[in-house]
């Protein structure tokens, strides 16, 4: 009876502990993050100034700093790069690494529960950064510029262009990077095997894709290759849209009647769609394109399944070279510029933008440590560490001046290098000219320049201000356009296209409030042009 009684009490106590343990947060533990008084709702925190610092710099102790990053790699939870970063900044890094697709959701959830990490990236500089600033969730860094001189100097004048950074406040620090425009990367070894030239127009491009699919470009005697590796993002046909003068990266364009609207309203949009449909219907595009995960799409290039891919050339010709490729002979690539029927050509533009910057949470207790990390990462040495790994252990310079290096031992394997943190964190508060850019091989440097010179900028409207309709109905508008794009590509015949297009655009204009947004952005454009 006693044993039974004891067991009952024990079991009930255990269950109660479990219930309450689930209620417990992390704040009571080692976390550095605890809301300061200034971060309470209703107002933005004031700059704390150096005197309020309790960072490790002053005490000599390594304080824990939580950083949230997004990416599609899978570094080990603890790794050499994070250890080294902690050592260099006298901190203990607690890294939250999320898949890029989940990052915004995770951030929103953390923001709603006021558990934002100490340092985090915000891609949506217009709406999201503004909301966080208004809610007092991000630290006003004004007055702290001397604590992270490299970081602030790198952002320069872009800081004042951020809508959230009003009246001298600094909530959001842009990276200052231009971002890579896309290239049409085509395998030149396959072209050589087939005795073909680099395509320059849409007809030649079709012929190349046809030959890649049907003429055994890898010479293995099997029909196991395709022309193009793509996915459901219109940008994976960027240069084809570009050949019709359409910037397909969700860009806003100025129409002939003076209205600013979405790129899908370009008069040649359906012509571009017809060409892409031909590639798909003739089996020249890898057939999993609609459902393929991003890394699997890249895998089609790594494994020699596809002969071309529209993507920033930094991947195929630099970062994946040669470790990611599995064929016996490493493939070679060239870049095509495709001219359309009207002589148009180009790719979606990248602007010297303010999107993709970094914030520090208002609730941080270690502002000095956060600034130390941001500042170190924004130096060449810091970005070298994050991109290449630990010098002397993971890589060594062979000619640092010219950006030449070699990986050491097992780190020649790209997967191993990334598992130990190489590359995966290289976009943490990076300098405008990153290690990656400094170390480009000659071909990649040429490809990046080519893509930038090839950007469609005429008639493109880059709006970085908060527009109410966009804020209210942005996702509904984007969903209709994405669904329309896929519906057009999957339509039974070209004769159906106009009907499908009209139906979706009608939905976009009325149900998704696209017309209201057009009016608002056109007004904005006329006021700011």
């Amino acid at each position: 009876m006693k044993a039974k009684r004891f067991l009952s009490i024990l079991l009930a106590a255990l269950m109660l502990i479990t219930v309450f343990a689930a209620c417990g947060g992390k704040d009571g533990g080692e976390s550095s993050s605890k809301a300061p008084e200034s971060s309470q709702a209703g107002g933005a925190p004031e700059s704390s100034g150096p005197e309020s610092s309790n960072a490790g710099e002053n005490t000599g102790d390594a304080v824990e700093v939580t950083i949230m990053m997004d990416g599609d790699n899978t570094p080990n939870a603890t790794n050499m790069v994070l250890d080294k970063l902690g050592e260099m900044t006298n901190t203990k890094i607690n890294m939250i690494y999320t898949p890029t697709d989940d990052a915004a959701t995770k951030r929103s959830t953390m923001a709603a529960s006021d558990t934002l990490p100490d340092i985090f990236r915000v891609l949506d500089v217009v709406t999201e950064a503004q909301e966080y600033a208004d809610a007092g969730l991000i630290y006003n860094l004004a007055g702290l510029e001397d604590k992270a001189p490299n970081w602030f100097k790198n952002a320069g004048d872009l800081i004042s262009q951020v809508p959230a950074n009003k009246d001298g406040a600094i909530y959001y620090v842009p990276t200052g990077q231009l971002g890579y425009a896309y290239n049409l990367n085509i395998r030149t070894d396959w072209l050589k095997n087939l005795n073909m030239e680099m395509p320059t127009n849409l007809d030649e491009l079709y012929d190349v894709y046809y030959a890649f699919t049907n003429n055994d470009p890898d010479g293995n005697g099997q029909k196991d290759t395709f022309g193009l590796a793509t996915d459901a993002d219109p940008r994976s046909f960027d240069s084809i849209f570009g050949a019709y003068g359409i910037p397909a990266n969700k860009n806003n364009i100025l129409l002939e009647d003076g209205t600013v609207s979405i790129y899908a309203k370009h008069p040649d949009y359906l012509e571009a769609i017809k060409y892409i449909r031909r590639l798909i219907n003739d089996g020249l595009v890898e057939p999993d394109w609609l459902t393929i995960p991003a890394m699997d799409k890249f895998g089609k290039m790594w494994n020699g399944v596809a002969g071309a891919m529209e993507f920033q050339c930094v991947g195929p010709t630099n970062n994946w070279m040669p470790g990611r490729y599995t064929e016996e002979v490493t493939p070679t690539f060239g870049f095509a510029t495709i001219e359309g029927p009207g002589g148009k050509k180009g790719v979606s533009p990248m602007f010297a933008n303010i999107t993709g910057g970094w914030c520090i949470a208002a609730r941080t207790e270690n502002i000095d440590a956060c600034l130390r990390i941001a500042d170190f990462c924004c130096t060449d040495d810091g970005n070298d560490l994050l991109y290449l790994g630990v010098e002397g252990e993971m890589f060594q310079w062979t000619d640092k001046e010219n950006g030449e290096y070699e990986y050491l031992g097992e780190y020649t394997d790209g997967a191993k290098q990334r598992a130990e943190g190489g590359f995966c964190y290289s976009w943490l508060c990076p300098p405008a000219v990153s290690c990656e850019m400094r170390c480009f091989n000659a071909q990649t440097r040429e490809g990046v320049d080519l893509a930038h010179n090839n950007m469609i900028t005429e008639g493109v409207v880059d709006c970085q201000d908060v527009l109410q309709t966009r804020s209210d109905y942005g996702s509904d508008m984007d969903s209709v356009i994405s669904e329309m794009y896929v519906a057009l590509l999957q339509a039974g015949s070209d004769d159906d296209l106009q009907g499908i297009y009209d139906e979706y655009m009608n939905r976009w204009e009325t149900e998704a409030h696209g017309s209201e947004w057009e009016e608002e952005i056109t007004q904005w454009y006329n006021d700011n042009k």
Binding site: M15, A104, T105, A111, A112, E131, T291, S475, D476, S479
Partner: protein, 321 residues
């Protein structure tokens, strides 16, 4: 007067409700102690957060205290029902839930009847384990399996058909509007049916074996025994589970839909949960998304009450309350 209030001599007065409750607690204190954590759990995690539903009637933004957010009445509900995307999600929700109920609910019953008829205990355990196993696989993995099987280029199905000499192009079933809901229902039945059998098999185990022996003596075959004994004996269990399932009809399976969704089929499978996720977590529109959640819960409650009422009308001994 006092004679009216005082009990007659020799009659023990009926104890009050409070004293009866206290004596029950004293007698079964161990059981109540075991019940306590469950009660605390329900209060802390189910009732206390209900205060959050007030966000559906408030202009709440990140960083605000819910209590101090200004009231906006039915504004979020009006906004929600003014969005065509939400109405589409509601329609999809109803269709998918109904299809899942129609095909997913009877399947475990049939499966458990079949498993019950397996005479070899080893085979019975093997089958039971096999059908329950998919329940423990996450939806992400299930999608991965479907992708690995159905991929038109690299899927196992293509290889299998290749063995039979078929080399034509395969449709991408995971991106087909016509097949989208079917794939959702098939994967739902495959994953969940095994787990559903546990309750039914437990109920079947409790049936008096004498009934079967008597029926057998009377010349009833296996099918007749199943129809006239097994099914009526587990009828109450079936009805209770049906009521639970109907109560969940407004929740068509977020995890599953989320991983199966893509631009080609989203118009056919976008449900309230995924739409709320988009609005609430991706766009931080907490008011509208809470309004949608409240609408879901309220509709679910009404459905449960109606089903329970129908169940009581059909069979007074069944139902929840």
């Amino acid at each position: 007067m006092s004679n009216l209030t005082k009990p007659p001599a020799g009659v023990v007065p009926k104890p009050s409700l409070k004293s009866r409750f206290l004596s029950t607690v004293r007698r079964d204190w161990m059981l109540y102690l075991m019940f306590l954590p469950g009660l605390v759990y329900i209060l802390v995690f189910k009732y206390a957060p209900m205060y959050g539903v007030t966000i559906a009637f408030k202009d709440f933004k990140i960083g605000m205290d819910v209590m101090n957010a200004p009231w906006v009445g039915w504004k979020h509900f009006a906004d929600l029902f003014g969005r065509t995307a939400f109405l589409r999600a509601l329609q999809n929700n109803i269709i998918i839930s109904f299809a899942k109920l129609l095909f997913g609910f009877p399947f475990p019953i049939i499966l458990s009847l079949m498993i019950n008829e397996v005479r070899s205990s080893k085979m019975k355990k093997l089958v039971q384990t096999s059908v329950i196993l998919p329940n423990f696989v996450s939806w992400v993995v299930v999608y991965g399996l479907f992708y690995a099987i159905l991929s038109p280029n690299a899927g196992a199905l293509k290889d299998v058909l290749g063995l039979f000499g078929y080399e034509g192009a395969l449709p991408n079933l995971l991106a087909s509007q016509n097949a989208a809901r079917t794939m959702i229902v098939i994967s739902h039945v495959w994953k969940g049916a095994g787990m559903g059998t546990i309750v039914y098999l437990a109920a079947i185990t409790g049936i008096d074996q004498g009934l079967y022996e008597a029926a057998s003596i009377d010349g009833a075959g296996r099918l007749k025994q199943m129809w006239h004994i097994t099914l009526p004996c587990i009828r109450t269990t079936i009805i209770v589970l049906l009521i639970f399932r109907v109560g969940e009809m407004m929740y068509a399976g977020f995890d599953q839909i989320f991983v199966f969704s893509n631009d080609a089929i989203v118009s056919k499978i976008d449900i309230i949960d995924t739409y709320v996720y988009k609005l609430g977590l991706q766009e931080r529109k907490y008011g509208i998304s809470t309004a949608a959640g409240l609408f879901q819960s309220f509709t679910g409650l009404i459905l449960v009450i109606i089903t329970n009422w129908i169940a009581k009308r059909v069979d007074p001994e069944s139902g929840l309350v």
